[in-house]
């Protein structure tokens, strides 16, 4: 296999409340021999909230991020479903609307940049599965996850709307997603089949519609627990934040105790590939997770 090279768009969360996501991502890349160039110039993607305030501005700022991946001549990889969605939405909008592309480029020209549309955008999950390959990952496993029942939680923004993502997520069907299940299998874990795996965690209305947010997260966590999961794993740090950090308040709304580790997808892979405790960073979880690391 020729060496894989990507431009990494870290997003905001991996630089702030989930440092374990960035360290485990870099650990996985190193273990697999994937070359990563971090886009230190990239700004926030707007997370769909800036888009609500000013859609055009959000397109300009996301186009600027993609420009830097284009400068490196690399595919841009994301480690957050929401970053993936918003970057991909801008790419799609500009690639299919010449007038919008011209208006955005008019702004970018003011800072010496031009969006061309030459870089693809892909979540790290699909870079691992579609580019590196599950068989190759399986060969690198040093600590099989065979003792764990693992509930895959896909998150909305990697799988919906499917037409937008079909070229970047291997044609994942949002009603029957399989990528995380297959990855868990490759790491010799036991994927938990449960109804909520492709549902919404409620993160994006945490502030303005808190009750809705708590119910959606609660439904998913309870479903995973009731299906005997030892942990939930997600490719989205926002799903992680909602489901890891708020288990107490979610439990109150659901009327029962909720306690289950919620891992980032790269943390799970790093566990199986034999990364260090510091790289995996389970200490940063609010819900108890450190016991999952067995050196």
């Amino acid at each position: 296999m020729s060496k894989l090279k990507y431009a990494l768009f870290t997003g905001c969360t991996a630089k702030q409340s989930t440092p374990e996501l960035l360290s485990s991502t870099l650990a996985v890349a190193e273990k697999l021999g994937i070359e990563i160039t971090i886009l230190e110039e990239a700004s926030c993607c707007g997370a769909s909230h800036l888009q609500d305030f000013d859609e055009f501005l959000a397109h300009v700022l996301n186009a600027r991020n993609i420009c830097y991946a284009e400068k490196h001549g690399l595919t841009m990889i994301t480690i957050c479903n929401t970053c993936q969605l918003n970057s991909q939405m801008t790419k799609h909008a500009l690639d299919t609307n010449p007038d919008l592309k011209a208006r955005v480029n008019e702004k970018l020209a003011e800072v010496g940049l031009e969006y061309k549309g030459t870089s693809e955008i892909k979540h790290f999950l699909y870079a691992l599965i579609d580019d590196y390959g599950l068989d190759a990952i399986k060969d690198k496993v040093v600590t099989p996850l065979s003792q764990f029942n693992i509930a895959p939680f896909y998150g909305c923004h990697n799988i919906r709307p499917s037409e937008l993502h079909e070229h970047s997520n291997g044609g994942e069907n949002p009603y029957v997603p399989t990528s995380l299940d297959r990855l868990i299998d490759a790491l010799e874990g036991h994927p938990v089949d449960y109804e909520s795996k492709n549902k919404c965690c409620g993160f994006h209305v945490e502030l303005q519609a808190n009750h809705t947010s708590e119910i959606l997260a609660g439904n998913a966590l309870v479903d995973a627990i009731d299906n005997n999961a030892d942990m939930v794993v997600t490719p989205c740090p926002l799903c992680h934040l909602k489901m890891d950090t708020y288990q107490d308040s979610v439990g109150k709304v659901m009327g029962r105790d909720i306690e289950i580790p919620v891992l980032h997808m790269p943390q799970m892979v790093a566990l199986a590939l034999g990364a260090t405790e510091a790289e995996i960073g389970l200490k940063f979880h609010v819900s108890k997770a450190k016991h999952l690391y067995t050196a």
């Binding site: 800036l50 501005l57 549902k199 209305v205 519609a209 809705t212």
Partner: protein, 331 residues
């Protein structure tokens, strides 16, 4: 198994009669399914060959009336448009026909759509205008003005998006994607004079656009490919464009993203909560914040939270300049 084969399968169907049944149950029906069969053909076969009491709505058989909207294994479909083999392939030959909303079931696939129609009516789904009783000319629209509707006028009120929406499931007061799409369709219509009223209505917390959880279930569900969440985003933007957005936790959360971006390029996760909620609203988050500090999610090693703990992107001045020259809306 290939798409072009006829196959013998067992189709499951949700059964419930609100007049006689205490609980719903599932029944199974064996049948041959051909490559051109639609889900509606399967339902007809159940009714005509297995059980005449099996009930569902159907009318046009052309995907334009919206009557036969149901779910199959949780996937919203128009029964008269959805090829059955396609779904059998997708779900490994194991499919269950379900109503759009089990809790609103009256008889089998037939649900009470009263909530859907009430919300539709709430958004004034018609052109509001003083029309001369004896006009001398048509009210013309340009192609661009018509195109601004973005296909929202193609909605057939089938309810697929409405009953796929998890926010509505959690909060029955929420208008939902179908009503909001209708609100956009008439608000953007150049002949309409009730846009401000609709924007005010759809901006209400707990009721309007700010309760959208951004899951894109509506975009995935729509059999007419209308993409309701695109219209919800447009409504958000129009509230700011037309000065209707009031300062509240939701609008400040959206606009507040720029505060951190101007300062460091990143969203400032701590500041956005403080700015959106205000100091008095922060008490709700104290317990969580303490836990996040304890685990290191809110960390001190790179600076003091709220003050200088966020790293700065390279070439930050570009982002600052782009915000300055590209921002079109304000709060």
């Amino acid at each position: 198994m290939q798409n072009n084969e006829t196959r013998k399968v067992t189709i499951k169907a949700f059964r419930f009669n609100a007049e006689t049944d205490y609980l719903p149950y599932t029944k199974q029906y064996e049948m041959e399914v051909g490559k051109d069969d639609l889900i509606l053909d399967l339902m007809n076969r159940i009714k005509w060959e297995h059980d005449g009491s099996f009930s569902y709505r159907r009318s046009c058989r052309h995907g334009i009336c919206g009557a036969c909207g149901i779910k199959v294994n949780g996937k919203p479909v128009l029964a008269c448009k959805q090829n059955a083999i396609e779904l059998l392939d997708l779900f490994d030959n194991d499919i269950t026909l379900e109503p759009q909303s089990k809790k609103r079931a009256i008889k089998d696939m037939i649900i009470d759509k009263g909530d859907f129609w009430q919300k539709h009516a709430d958004v004034l789904p018609y052109v509001v205008a003083d029309v001369d009783a004896h006009p001398t000319h048509e009210t013309k629209q340009s192609i661009a003005q018509f195109n601004a509707m973005l296909d929202s006028d193609l909605c057939i009120q089938c309810g697929s998006c409405h009953y796929a929406c998890p926010s509505l499931e959690a909060n029955p007061d929420y208008l939902g994607p179908a009503a909001l799409t209708a609100a956009y369709r008439f608000t953007i219509d150049t002949r309409d004079e009730a846009g401000k009223e609709r924007l005010e209505l759809t901006s209400k917390p707990g009721f309007g656009v700010w309760d959208c959880v951004k899951c894109f279930e509506c975009a995935q569900a729509c059999p007419k490919e209308i993409n309701p969440i695109e219209k919800i985003t447009k409504l958000h933007n129009m509230q700011f464009e037309q000065g209707i957005a009031e300062r509240n936790v939701a609008t400040k959360h959206a606009e507040g993203f720029l505060r951190g971006m101007k300062k460091t390029g990143y969203l400032d996760e701590a500041d956005i909560v403080l700015y959106s909620e205000g100091i008095l609203g922060m008490h709700k988050h104290l317990k969580t914040a303490m836990k996040m500090m304890k685990s290191g999610k809110i960390h001190w090693h790179s600076g003091v939270p709220f003050i200088n703990s966020i790293p700065e992107i390279k070439n930050l001045s570009e982002v600052q300049k782009l915000i300055e020259i590209s921002q079109t809306n304000k709060l």
